[in-house]
Subunit: 320 residues, 3 copies
């Protein structure tokens, strides 16, 4: 089962797996984002604690990821649920047991399993044998659907729409899993225009580009920051990894052209352009930008990761 | 204090340590299994949450064991308690502090300690200095009493009795801690007949065999799967570890004779023979067997690990 | 920002960081210790669970410390809060992300962050960027304020006062972070007399000694256990680390002179002298002393670590 076989949500989240962004249509996204807004706005923290009271969620991490794990852990616990944290690299299940047997084990103890794995398709493999919902928290070069959902929710929250947007995505557009997901998500809506800025070696794959354009997304490759149109709705910046380059010199030459700082913002961003980044960053955004009210990467974007996951958990495990 | 000095339960679980299966007589087992059945049958999850509300249990693991730790963690949390998870190999208490000092430390923060250790007698050593209940979650070649209890409960649940049974235990009967415990447990009841199937090098220790027979257990060694009597109540299969053999060739030759698959089931198992295994497995049971309704190793047997631990925690920490 | 810039508590704990003992004056200590006494005396565990209900505290540990982490973990959970445990050495945030970005991340998921770090000033650095309270759980050679507070509370609890005391501190007075904090704390009160006993190489720094004396603390260096005055209120013993000596021989020669055993107690301690140690110990206190009613290092002193932290969390996050 590849993640593209994942069952469509079709606006009924009850007991579904979350494996891929492709499970979501517009209506399902709207339902999810309404729920997210309502949970984020809830002032009475104790009310939320009833939603997963008595439920247990296993966080099964085959590779470390303190950000994603912490966010899921907080999400479950803020809904009153409990977590079992299983770090596999440090545990005996690493020794020879199949992924399927490990999933069946924790299925017996819990009401859902969040899985992070380095191998493409691991989450779908887990879902195939599991009788409880599986949440894909990243499967190698595969998908990381909750990251995509938090990015989309952040844009929706700030722009009140996911249609008619003009945005910039920058950095490594070839390998960047989060960028691919975001573009796929935006292609579900109308009249979106995205400018693509990347080093030559790291351009968006032409095939993926065509697919997205067929769905109606307007994509324009630009060559330099000087081509960024004023007044975009958002900038989505990503990391350019050293490993992608033949030499340190080559890497530095390229990377220095892709740094967001106050000067770049004053020249090319509009007063309402929100600045996003999936984090961690390694210099692509200067820390001087952190206090700019348009910067959301350290605040709402990350906080929304927790709220989107709370909304998903709530819709899937505790439908009203 | 060796684990055989452990205080007999004598049908009063309050604040007792659980170090060894030898603490249990028939009445205590019946009380425990009644409690387990009642907890497993409780539909209102929130009711269970009151049992350990406000209590803290430390899970002190000197060796990794995600299955046992996860099961205890889920057990405590499903009863409304909280866990402190201390993985010693990754922590400073590894550096020079005695087991006793570590136990005294966590005694101050918690209401019970679950300990897993590679050394025989470690749990009893802990119990000697501790003012709060100690649960032995495996001490090397020593005991792992909650594993034995979950195995016995699983048979009891499926067969409605622990007397008058005919069973098969197979695999490494020389080193297998779980098999020894199961046989001891069954020797407390009447008219049980057990067939023993193992490679020559891994037979049940003759001395242990005599002890069990003195208690009234009927034991028959058989030479091959073809000797398995039809219509046994259960098969309890265990892992044959490569390390026990002088060569890979020797290991494979033996191991291939000890694999449960659909063919073997159709030839030698009865319609009500339940198939058990303590897990993890490394090929002793083909995955094609997993969906057979008689196979309980991935389902009830494992789930019962959580429920038996919930029942113990409840009887020991929260007697009514 | 160094920890000495930490905002004075000034008897208002609401949403304050706890970075240094220097934030506390007498009144603040009295408020804290009253709260600690009341929490320690609360018989209804469920009442405590309401204090942090719905709150999440991140335990961000850049170096392992099962004792301190366990104590904070228990403190949060006994107040009904939830914890996110992030062991950084085992996690991806270790890879290149700045401390500040990591703090901003967990700020989004939680209501407070407890941080342990090997670098001096790390907690203050965290507090500088954080919008939620930061608890310093030890920053290298810097401070470990909650350890100091639990030591002072233990003396207060047993002696009903922090003035007019006669005490002995022994061991490594040069490097011992806990000793320095305790002496600073006692210097806030009147008429305290402290005897200092250490190997020559590990005497209290003369400059720190002068500062403490200026504040009114009376300090007397003694040369040998035979100089310990009878009827002191407390002995505070610390570890002498092998690494401080040029050779194993040199270390053993010195260390053997600094061991508390029953004989030493009978010769030099009074009937009401309490015996303290911050733990872990590596032989400075013989285990025969553990059962002496005057020994509090394995019992009240450690338990008070949890209660002082509960009191702090309560005053800071849940003021009434």
């Amino acid at each position: 089962m590849s993640s593209s076989d994942a069952k469509s949500i079709n606006n009924d989240f009850t007991q579904k797996d979350i494996l891929s962004l492709s499970q979501f249509d517009r209506t399902s996204l709207e339902t999810l984002f309404d729920k997210t807004t309502s949970i984020k706005g809830e002032k009475d923290l104790r009310k939320l604690l009833q939603i997963l009271e008595g439920r247990v969620v296993t966080l099964l991490f085959y590779e470390p990821s303190s950000r994603t794990r912490g966010s899921f852990d907080a999400a479950v616990q803020r809904l009153g649920g409990r977590t079992l944290i299983i770090n596999v690299e440090a545990s005996s299940v690493a020794k020879g047991e199949t992924l399927e047997d490990t999933i069946k084990t924790f299925e017996n103890y819990s009401d859902a399993i969040v899985i992070r794995h380095s191998e493409l398709g691991a989450a779908a493999k887990a879902a195939k044998v599991s009788n409880i919902p599986i949440f894909n928290a990243g499967d190698g070069i595969g998908e990381h659907p909750t990251q995509a959902l938090l990015d989309m929710f952040t844009i929706f929250e700030k722009k009140k729409s996911l249609s008619g947007l003009v945005g910039l995505v920058a950095g490594d557009l070839k390998h960047g899993r989060t960028v691919h997901s975001l573009l796929k998500g935006l292609s579900l809506f109308e009249n979106n225009v995205i400018y693509l800025l990347s080093p030559d070696q790291l351009r968006l794959d032409p095939e993926l580009k065509s697919q997205l354009e067929e769905k109606g997304l307007k994509l324009f490759e630009i060559e330099s920051v000087t081509d960024i149109p004023k007044d975009t709705d958002f900038w989505y910046w990503t990391r350019v990894q050293k490993e992608r380059f033949s030499s340190e010199v080559e890497y530095k030459k390229v990377n220095n052209k892709f740094v967001v700082n106050n000067e770049l913002l004053s020249l090319y961003a509009g007063p309402k352009t929100i600045i996003m980044h999936p984090l961690p960053r390694v210099g692509e955004i200067a820390t001087e930008v952190d206090k700019d009210p348009r910067a959301v990467y350290l605040t709402d974007q990350m906080k929304n990761g927790m709220y989107v996951r709370m909304a998903l958990l709530s819709l899937i495990l505790s439908p009203v």
